[in-house]
Symmetry: D2
């Protein structure tokens, strides 16, 4: 059966014949492999054009900022999965990527949509008025303001600060960063909370200012974290922690449901 009414039946990313592979119009082997870096290639794949120096520098900075932050939930899920299923490293990576969601790791995408909406609404006029309106709209819908606050870096997320610096160094700071900073300033009076911009707020701000597409923002933490997961899964093969993590997790949780009289749960 045919679901939906897609009328377009073409792709513009790549094609091939027996002799050559074309990626975004370029011959993969003669023009790209050995001639550009992977960050250039990622930008090319996503946008269709090779990046400027500023675009490359900002994308590099964001990928590095979010690639690794220790034994976060998605890394634990990934290491537990490899411990249980060592035959499929790709499954352990997939389990880790599935934790790139709206609450953790993937909130870059939500923050990016929020900043883009502010800039679009301002339409060249007051970013502050637009920011107030978009904050109000999120709050009216009962939604959180994405991109601010961090459970560990309460005084300021050092990655966010550094990303803004890199953006300035690259001469690439623009309206989306400005919008993100205005929101940070407005939070106390509009939400009653003082929260500082986190890495998931800074990533979309600096990327949108160099023209990265908003709908591909979630790809940045996903690609970056995949590299971090590969490092953890190599370590997991050499020093297995997956079941240590799950043992500690299980011990932290009690059972409070019914049980037969006299039943004593194991706390082993």
């Amino acid at each position: 059966m045919k679901i939906g009414r897609q009328t377009q039946k073409s792709t513009a990313i790549s094609t091939a014949n027996a002799e050559a592979i074309i990626v975004r119009g370029r011959d993969l082997c003669s023009e790209l492999i050995g001639r550009v870096g992977f960050t250039d290639h990622m930008w090319l794949l996503i946008t269709g054009e090779l990046p400027s120096a500023a675009q490359r520098r900002v994308l590099d900075a964001t990928l590095i900022a979010i690639a690794e932050h220790g034994l976060v939930p998605s890394v634990q899920a990934s290491r537990m999965t490899l411990a249980a299923a060592p035959e499929a490293l790709q499954g352990a990576v997939a389990a880790g990527i599935l934790g790139c969601g709206s609450v953790v790791l993937g909130s870059s995408a939500l923050a990016g949509e929020f900043f883009a909406a502010i800039v679009t609404r301002a339409n060249g006029g007051s970013l502050e008025a637009a920011a107030r309106a978009e904050i109000a709209a999120l709050r009216a819908a009962g939604k959180a303001i994405p991109g601010y606050g961090h459970p560990l870096h309460r005084g300021g997320d050092p990655r966010a600060q550094r990303l803004l610096e890199v953006s300035v160094e690259a001469g690439a700071s623009g309206h989306h960063i400005e919008a993100a900073q205005i929101v940070e300033r407005l939070l106390p009076e509009t939400t009653g909370k003082t929260l500082v911009m986190n890495v998931s707020g800074a990533i979309p701000a600096v990327l949108l200012d160099v023209g990265y597409p908003v709908r591909a923002l979630k790809g940045v933490p996903i690609v970056a974290r995949t590299a971090g997961l590969v490092a953890h899964l190599l370590e997991e093969q050499l020093r297995p922690l997956g079941f240590v993590l799950s043992h500690a997790g299980a011990r932290a949780i009690d059972y409070d449901g019914p049980a037969p009289a006299g039943f004593v749960p194991s706390h082993e």
Copy 2:
């Protein structure tokens, strides 16, 4: 319950406090973000050291070589998944990564283990004798020789040729590449088939020769393909093909099971 007997309970990848994040011993914000590229960072995450110029160049080349090859099965699985579940881009990426298996895309890891086994067995002596022995061992176990042959690039995989060139240009060609070339030469007499080295053979050969860890080889196609998937999923949002693909797939397959008398399947 405690599964297994893990005695080590430590990680060496990263740590943090409220002010700073340490990755492989380096301060993430002051030493890495804005100072190195993502390929350097990936090498650092995986090996604990920043790469040499040759190591970076070879890793870049392999990532670029395998990032994208059109509507391969894993890309189709990913695009169909986004069409069905647009609320979870991470799920569509995960579905694509799950296709990085022993047959397609993930065979780099098997080829790398094979080449490493040849080099280890040779132990400084004859690579050809070691290659013959390892080919014989695979064939005795009924296994395929990984890293050779391609359904489209029958006359030679241009990515493999280019990767070997880049390795030579980088002054980084060594025993693993030599082993891979010896196997290619031995295939007709040992297996009766003439097959040329493919990209999944060349990737581990050039990487092992610059000291990339064999157990992290599968991470290279996985990280690279994740970037390709992000590009496809951006395109899928703009021009949906997922259900066009599944419609074409379903039409290619007949039903040959039993059916009630007179039942006429739809071929819509």
Copy 3:
């Protein structure tokens, strides 16, 4: 670091010691294995109580209704994944489940929330008035009305009709089914489209009327489809279709991006 402020640290689903496993207060081995059916057990796991005969019959009917519908996108994604990665059947199942989304297969959950909102809003009063209000709210938010229409079963989804019959036979038809039927009647005048209730509308309607929890609705297509995927993956091992599907998919799509002069794509 500690994310969020969870204060509760207990689970009520199961516990164990060396001699026994307790599930929802019952001894797994003496009270459940060999004494009840899997559908009873699923209801017990989810709700904490064994089902009545009507509850079991309705849950059975919904699971059977949605378990299998041929080479739908999620089944194709799953079979392609097994073809690429035969070493990990769990990965192929996961790829299939990831397609249980808001557009396909998982829309039961959205339809259930919609019907529950109508019944709650009516609060014993007019279901029709409540249905009109909830339809208007969805349309104001630019959202589709979930649970109606089918690309193949345009004249009526036979599974929906049968599920409503089973509900009546079980003496279990109530306000949620009534709400679903009212919506079907109101669609032409409120949306301008005549669409009949589909299986993803009927499943939540009949389940909510027997007291199944709305937040676990998505679990029904997921558990059911998992059984269908296992059948497809067994067939895939015996008669591989995964790459036939992807070959047909790729042939259905053209390349319309740039290419070097004279480049002729392969259509093999």
Copy 4:
């Protein structure tokens, strides 16, 4: 491009037209929904035939035995994933299923292949001789004997004992169970360890004795655990534990890599 040489292009599981859906030759709506139970349907999907009473009873017993065992690694991975990505319940289920691997949960499949190999090798003759030969073959290949031992149920896995009882009650005990019991008896002398049959040994033994296909064995823990995951994910929505689990896990692991002089990790 066309991967591989699949010549068969048909499926025998289901087909449909606008009016009806045929599953394994039966009309889904008139013959199956409301007439059989989900366990019957699962057997039908996988084998093509409705089960006998003994087949249904044994399949029910195995599904119930393995559906739930508390906060095992795959459940923790799943709950952490939902906490991070609440927008995609299917992603959390997928993360849980990915932990159904060769070490945990999925070892039923390996044990089933092992028992089937014993029965095939015996070919009506001595099961003990065949068991000795297959044990020796596994040990020669450096592989574990699958299906024996449990980290909590050291004195005997009560689920395994109960499954064997159910098989006897159903009049369905045969050569595979016998082989599994012989292996248990031979373990001390052949491996130097006394280990009792666990649930992942008993599941394939009882299922193979009622004719369940060996290549679909992994589907049993996968389908069963999916139901358990749905229960945990409903509970996770009502009482979030995902980040409690990851917090406890992270605290159990130290950092032993390099760090700048004076750096003090947070243990928050």
